[in-house]
């Protein structure tokens, strides 16, 4: 490993280093602000390092290319936002706080490894680093039943799906003798008629492992329970960073390993896309718990992403990445609102908590409205353009059936987003609701997210340019 390799790993090293620093600082003396400050500076430094780190392949495991660096930036920025949300959330609760940041940083590291993996070994490594930190994060409030239940469910299911994944990797390795994505492509390209009886089931099992993390149908059933049980900032993390890192890996795997040449594999992706879009939106339809609604809606959003993934090529890849960016913004925004409104002993996840929010906190209600409209794909928001690019990619590839289902599913989705919006503006029913706590850091996050949401919605050129450069190294 050379010095330039170490430099290329800088974004990862900074995160890893700051997690150790927080750990040591907590051992010396517990201080919430110190742990928070160290984490923020680590994440910020990692974000800044992305702009001057040279793109190289580091060993066979990690490909630190423009694509990986783009996701490093996105993931560290999202974790930065989550840390800001968590600060206000934790400060008002009676619990040890420092470990939260250690776990958050480790999980971030895992997601980044996923985004850079070009090999099944680093893929599995990144997945486990991410998952193990998440088990603890989800059940961070160990004295409450819901988080513990969510944590155990996540632990059991993630572990068993990881076993499926490992077995799938073993099958691929048994067939081709390699776990390197680029070499898989190389072997498949050289041999037009490979033996598929081991390879394709292997791919299907790998999809199981990936599908679990992304909550694609039928591996999605954990989502609502975990979203509901986890503390709101952790839910935001699970929804964005964890899924984003995994989707970055999936796109790389799909583009580089050449498995998209097999019609049966594509068929599986199509089935998953259709089932996820429809099931996600239908499940959310009359749900009364906001966190569960957002969980179901995330299933549908992953389904939309699968549509663009299947198109492939530059147009599909850029649609995927743009949608992921938009999805990060609006999902973080929605959970930031949930975080801000949460009371000390209970997260604000009931529909009733939002009734008449506009009359109590107009700005917060408007921000939530913007996020929900973006999730629904209304123009002038990033979510609209994201969906638009997916549709354009699908149309370019001629996948009309998928597009039709995307449109139908979005229409169903519109209903439950608007249901929340309507509740926001109704007359408040219960006048003596406790005033939520003030969280300046979270307000900052919300303001920044809203600005970016609209900015991307009306002026997306700069982001498209960045995405274009990033995916250049991928294809």
């Amino acid at each position: 490993m050379t010095a330039s390799d170490m430099l290329a790993l800088l974004p990862l090293l900074l995160i890893a280093g700051s997690s150790v620093a927080v750990l040591i600082a907590a051992a010396v003396g517990r201080n919430h602000a110190v742990a928070f400050g160290l984490s923020l500076s680590g994440l910020a430094a990692s974000f800044c390092s992305v702009f001057f780190v040279p793109a190289t392949q580091v060993t066979a495991l990690l490909d630190i290319d423009g694509y990986a660096l783009f996701f490093f930036g996105l993931i560290s920025a999202a974790s930065f936002a989550v840390a800001l949300l968590a600060y206000g959330y934790l400060r008002n609760r009676d619990i040890d706080k420092e470990e939260f940041y250690v776990l958050l940083l480790v999980a971030t590291l895992g997601a980044m490894i996923l985004a850079a993996s070009s090999h099944f070994a680093s893929f599995f490594l990144g997945l486990e680093v991410l998952s193990i930190a998440l088990y603890a994060l989800i059940a961070y409030f160990g004295d409450r039943p819901l988080p513990v239940e969510a944590g155990i469910k996540y632990l059991v299911l993630a572990a068993s799906s990881a076993a499926f994944l490992l077995f799938g990797i073993a099958l691929v390795y048994a067939d081709l003798g390699t776990m390197d994505f680029a070499r898989i492509e190389h072997i498949l390209a050289a041999n037009p008629n490979p033996n598929l009886t081991l390879l394709l089931p292997g791919v299907a099992l790998v999809v199981t492992g990936i599908g679990f993390k992304l909550a694609l149908v039928p591996f999605h059933m954990w989502t609502p329970d975990v979203y509901q049980g986890a503390p709101a900032p952790v839910t935001a993390f699970v929804a964005t960073v964890s899924k984003g890192g995994m989707f970055a890996l999936l796109l790389r795997y799909f583009a580089q390993s050449g498995i998209n040449r097999f019609a049966p594999a594509l068929l599986v992706f199509t089935i998953i896309a259709i089932a996820s879009m429809l099931a996600g939106n239908l499940l959310a339809l009359l749900q009364s718990n906001v966190k569960r609604i957002l969980a179901y809606s995330s299933i549908a959003h992953m389904g939309y992403l699968m549509v663009a993934l299947e198109v492939g090529g530059a147009i599909g890849a850029s649609a995927v990445v743009f949608y992921l960016v938009a999805y990060f913004i609006m999902t973080l925004g929605a959970f930031a609102v949930v975080t801000v409104l949460s009371a000390e002993h209970r997260d604000a996840d009931q529909m009733e908590d939002y009734r008449g929010l506009f009359w109590r906190r107009p700005v917060l209600a408007l921000v939530f409205t913007a996020m929900l409209l973006s999730l629904a794909g209304i123009p002038m928001t990033a979510g609209f353009l994201g969906k638009f690019y997916i549709l354009a990619a699908g149309a370019a590839a001629g996948s009309w059936a998928l597009i039709l289902i995307l449109v139908i599913a979005s229409t169903i989705g519109l209903f439950y987003y608007l249901r929340i919006v309507v509740i926001l503006y109704q007359q408040p029913g219960d006048a003596n609701q406790p005033l939520p706590l003030r969280m300046p850091a979270a307000s900052l996050v919300l303001a920044a997210l809203t600005v970016i949401l609209v900015w991307l919605g009306v002026y997306p050129s700069w982001m498209l340019q960045a995405i274009h450069t990033a995916i250049g190294s991928l294809l």
């Binding site: 299911l157 199981t208 059933m221 049966p264 089935i271 239908l282 339809l285 354009a392 009306v458």
Partner: protein, 621 residues
């Protein structure tokens, strides 16, 4: 200097945003709101200076900020286009908006929704300026809907009275009818010509369509639909009188000086299209002529000061449409400008009177205010003379005589239009002086309870000056507009009257109206009363008073049958189809919900079953 163009709409928009989101003390609110519009006006003047000093190539300047999205030929840009036409409109709108904002700081001083009011007003100005500067019809449409939204919000500003909310909704729905027509027009233009960029459209239209082509006529009529909605012309004028429910500065700014002239601007902007479609242009002239008469008669019968002014606005915009329709393009724009000055002033002065008399709107309960409110009286008198067209002195006379002359002498003009325009002058003079005599002369009927302050009087005085001086620029004005909007004259020999002759007749008719008003409403009221004493007179009065029964007609013809059809057709097949879909969705939700049992073993089984299914798919399909 021209590069500053984007700031003209951007500053009011930023200020609207700040006022909507943040809380400020009242003083700061007023300061932010007024200074943002002042900044816009100053920049617009700088831009004008730079434009006149060093005219850009082709006498037009385009500033492309960015491209919103790119799909095939559809590349809507966020871009501004400045030519003599948009320049004049922008300067007038920015400047009049500034004066009205200044006036509002005092007028609205006691109101609870101070910050909300100015947020709406600034947003309105930003939208209006976007509408005027847009270089493509999509951005124009954004501004178009933006001003519509602000109009709705400001008509219903005092929303605690349900009447005001209803008036706001009426305005929104009626204009929506027109907007829909306009939207279809945009689709048609894009479909046939492949662009929404206004200048490209104007270049391509003559290449693709021959004179009088069906598509050109259809596009012209559809855009006219949008214009009559926004500009309150026949048959969609019914919303404007009710819109007077809003605060008076709103009526002055939105429902007199600026927004309602958006339709005039739209037609002027796309005048090449109308030149290609003579039937559509003729329709514009007919709409204008009919509206100016009908609204003129209605204005004669109103007792609410603001409603008289509202009908007068409809009638004056009718003049602008008439000018557009006959091809006297620059006359329409000059009348827009002078009308913006004097009509804004009439409303502002009326606001002073109404506030002074403790929210009294009825002109028959006013009277004799000449002495008590001298500034209001003199400015109202000047604006009124300008409206009625006092010859040689006032701005209104210059623009209206120009339209009158155009009605006879422009390409599509005829003596018929000339006579209609002349009758309009008589009506205008009559209702204007009826208003002035009833409000400011005669005996006092109400006590003055509040004297206006400087913030309200200064805008009135400045506008009074402009209501006179605005007309003297006619010749340079026409010359400046030449490149963007040339006068379309008729062939020599087709005109049966000279310009001087037409102006002389107009002056005499103005005098006739003044004398009639004096006799009927100042000398002896009994003359006026005797006119409506008999059954026929009373019926006619009622008919005109109710805006020629239009509201009644629309209610019977459209609203009630529609509501009736909706009621009896509740459970038909199509409805059943859609509720069936909804129920199907709920059913699917119920069934899928069963899978979310919360049981861990079931979830794990789901994962296992999923993998098995997918392995089966890849192996056996």
């Amino acid at each position: 200097m021209l590069g500053l163009l984007w700031l003209i709409p951007a500053i009011p928009f930023a200020s609207a945003l700040a006022l909507a989101v943040l809380r400020f003390p009242r003083k700061v609110v007023a300061w932010i709101a007024v200074s943002s519009i002042a900044a816009s006006s100053i920049i617009s003047l700088l831009v004008t200076f730079s434009f006149l000093h060093a005219p850009p190539a082709g006498n037009a300047y385009t500033e492309v900020l960015w491209t919103w999205m790119r799909v095939g030929d559809f590349r809507p840009e966020i871009a501004f286009y400045l030519d003599p036409l948009s320049l004049i409109m922008v300067v007038v709108v920015a400047f009049v908006s500034f004066l009205i904002h200044l006036y509002s700081t005092e007028f609205m001083a006691g109101d609870d929704g101070y910050s909300r009011f100015f947020a709406y007003m600034n947003l309105f100005v930003a939208s209006m300026l976007t509408l005027l500067l847009a270089n493509n019809l999509l951005l124009l449409y954004l501004g178009w809907e933006g001003v519509g939204l602000c109009s709705y919000l400001l008509i219903g500003f005092w929303y605690r009275d349900p009447e005001n909310g209803l008036a706001g909704r009426k305005a929104f729905i009626v204009t929506r009818v027109g907007d829909t027509a306009m939207l279809i027009g945009l689709f048609l233009l894009f479909h046939d010509l492949g662009t929404l960029n206004i200048q490209e459209l104007m270049q391509r239209a003559p290449q693709h369509w021959h004179l009088g082509a069906g598509a050109a006529v259809a596009a012209g009529l559809l855009l006219l639909g949008g214009a009559v909605g926004k500009s309150a012309q026949l048959p969609l004028q019914t919303w404007l009188p009710d819109a007077m429910a809003g605060p008076t500065p709103v009526s002055a700014l939105i429902h007199a000086a600026t927004m309602v002239t958006a339709g005039v601007y739209l037609i002027a902007r796309t005048h090449v299209l109308y030149s290609l479609a003579p039937p559509a242009q003729f329709a514009v002239a007919v709409v204008g002529a009919a509206t100016l008469l009908i609204a003129g008669f209605s204005a004669l019968t109103q007792w609410d000061l603001k409603r008289v002014l509202a009908y007068s606005t409809i009638s004056q915009i009718g003049y602008m449409f008439l000018a557009l329709g006959v091809g006297a393009w620059p006359a329409a724009i000059l009348h827009f400008m002078t009308h913006a000055f004097f009509k804004a002033l009439l409303f502002l002065a009326a606001g002073v009177v109404i506030q002074a008399l403790h929210e009294e709107h009825n002109i028959f309960r006013m009277g004799g205010l000449r002495k008590k409110l001298p500034v209001a009286f003199w400015t109202f008198l000047i604006a009124g003379c300008s409206l009625a067209g006092l010859p040689l002195i006032t701005a209104g006379a210059f623009s209206k005589d120009w339209i009158l002359w155009g009605a006879a002498s422009a390409a599509n003009g005829s003596m018929g239009f000339w006579i209609v325009a002349l009758i309009g002058i008589l009506l205008t003079s009559l209702y204007t002086f009826r208003m002035i005599f009833l409000v400011f002369f005669g005996e006092m009927h109400s006590e003055v309870t509040k004297k206006p302050g400087m913030a309200m009087l200064i805008p009135c005085i400045v506008l009074a000056f402009l209501s006179i001086a605005g007309g003297y620029v006619k010749t340079p004005f026409a010359h400046f507009l030449e490149t963007a909007l040339p006068w379309n004259a008729a062939a020599a020999g087709a005109v049966h009257i000279s310009e001087i002759g037409s102006e002389t007749v107009a002056g005499l008719v103005f005098l006739l109206g003044l004398v009639l008003a004096y006799v009927l409403f100042l000398r002896s009221r009994s003359y006026a009363a005797s006119l409506t004493d008999n059954a026929a007179g009373a019926a006619l009065h009622r008919f005109w008073f109710s805006d020629w029964g239009m509201d009644w007609l629309y209610d019977r013809l459209l609203v009630r049958p529609y509501a009736w059809a909706a009621r009896i057709d509740k459970g038909d097949l199509i409805d059943g189809f859609y509720s069936g879909i909804a129920e199907l969705n709920v059913l699917a939700w119920r069934v899928l919900g069963l899978t979310e049992s919360g049981r861990l073993r079931w979830y794990a089984a789901g994962i296992a079953a999923g993998s098995i299914i997918y392995i089966a798919v890849v192996l056996f399909l």
